[in-house]
Symmetry: C2
Subunit: 249 residues, 2 copies
Amino acid sequence: MLNLVDRTTTKPGCNDCPIRERAVCAHCESDELARLESTKFYRKYSAGQTIIWAGEPMEFVASVITGMASLTQQMEDGRTQMVGMLLPSDFLGRPGRQTATYTVTATSDLHLCCFHRKPFETLMVQTPHLAMRLLEMTLDELDAARDWLLLLGRKTAREKIASFLVFLARREAALGKRQPQGQITIGLPLTREALADYLGLTLETVSRQLNGMKREGMLQLEGKRRVILSDFDMMLAESGDDGDGGLPI
Amino acid sequence: MLNLVDRTTTKPGCNDCPIRERAVCAHCESDELARLESTKFYRKYSAGQTIIWAGEPMEFVASVITGMASLTQQMEDGRTQMVGMLLPSDFLGRPGRQTATYTVTATSDLHLCCFHRKPFETLMVQTPHLAMRLLEMTLDELDAARDWLLLLGRKTAREKIASFLVFLARREAALGKRQPQGQITIGLPLTREALADYLGLTLETVSRQLNGMKREGMLQLEGKRRVILSDFDMMLAESGDDGDGGLPI
DNA sequence: TGGCAAGTTTGACCTGAGTCAATGTTTCTG
DNA sequence: CAGAAACATTGACTCAGGTCAAACTTGCCA
């Protein structure tokens, strides 16, 4: 969610990251955060592993290096709704809060770059720039949540799926993965169930819609975790969005 | 949404507010904001009036003194989803952004206490405390949006209505309106249609659910804009929430 | 290398909430 | 105070997406 540096200022390397070829390790690219170097550590989780349960103490903040994680909320009878998605360069943790509000789960293999919460908070108070940046990021996050409200409240199952694929395609494009004109390949780091929890659907409906779109030639399913869009603009039209939320890729 | 002062530090008055008896005028109670006194102005809107349209330039930030406003998002075919609700003491506006992202409408008669955006932003850069407070408020807002995601994605029509009534009852309690034990009266500053747009339902479903609950003795409808809950805890149980989101009132 | 578990697809059926339409009730306004 | 406009209720009907159940893939690991 929270991305500690502007994407525009991406620098080449982060020499002691376990993954040298990683896309982005936001933490390491921020000059202010260099001062926390000594308290930095790395964590690795495998798909399906829970990182923190809602209500548990949360003693670190982190940045996603590779993989994907989700924040979920559960009702007593087990109904589950994903309320946040963490992709590479996203930030995990809420400064000033010592317990987690949501359950955080790795939905694919995941690498985190972590700082202990206390020194991070101290640094934040000392460097107004960092607080301003965090505010900006939180506001972006809030805007994303508001688009998500529209998706959950008013879109049809098909529009939900299309919106999600458009979102993922844009996200990959924004992180610099250039695609051949026309066809776009998307990595889907989610099971059908997790996808359903994201979209407020059942996993059966997700499967039916995805295979329906395949039958109509809008996309190809390559294995379970890869989708190839035949035509981005057609998918965008299908999503119900007007398209000015981002560039046409 | 954004509440510029801690509710716990509420001070008595705000002498040049048009509404002397108002509940809270957050702006006036913040010491930092006293420095913006000269650029402060007031605005009054009547129910149904639109304050800003999405995409329009937004030259001020404001605090709600009385009444209610909504942020809404619309799809091309007219489907509408409310994505934010502004109640007394909430903050309107996004520092750093010059155009409005969402349409803001007064859903009841409304009084705003406004500052021009530029001087407000300057002050924010100069006073880290204000930026930190704004960050904290935005994070609370984000948490609220996430509860809303669960509501839209996973709750039934009845649970949605119950959740909303519980939310309003708590909100009124938090703002200091003590209620007789047992029965709780709630002001409903929304039409059935606005309520439907908040909950991701149609206005017919809202009407049916509300009258259904009335028939079952869970609440009384006094006119169109007032609801009396017979039993808060029963309503809470109906909402599907586990109840630790706030005090039992 | 084969067997099992996790994940996925597909089918048949059902139901909660949407749609369309008519009627009732307030509340403005001239 | 009448008439209209806005808002709300109610009914009949439909259908998108949920539920339950069975079969099919895939990949893991023993």
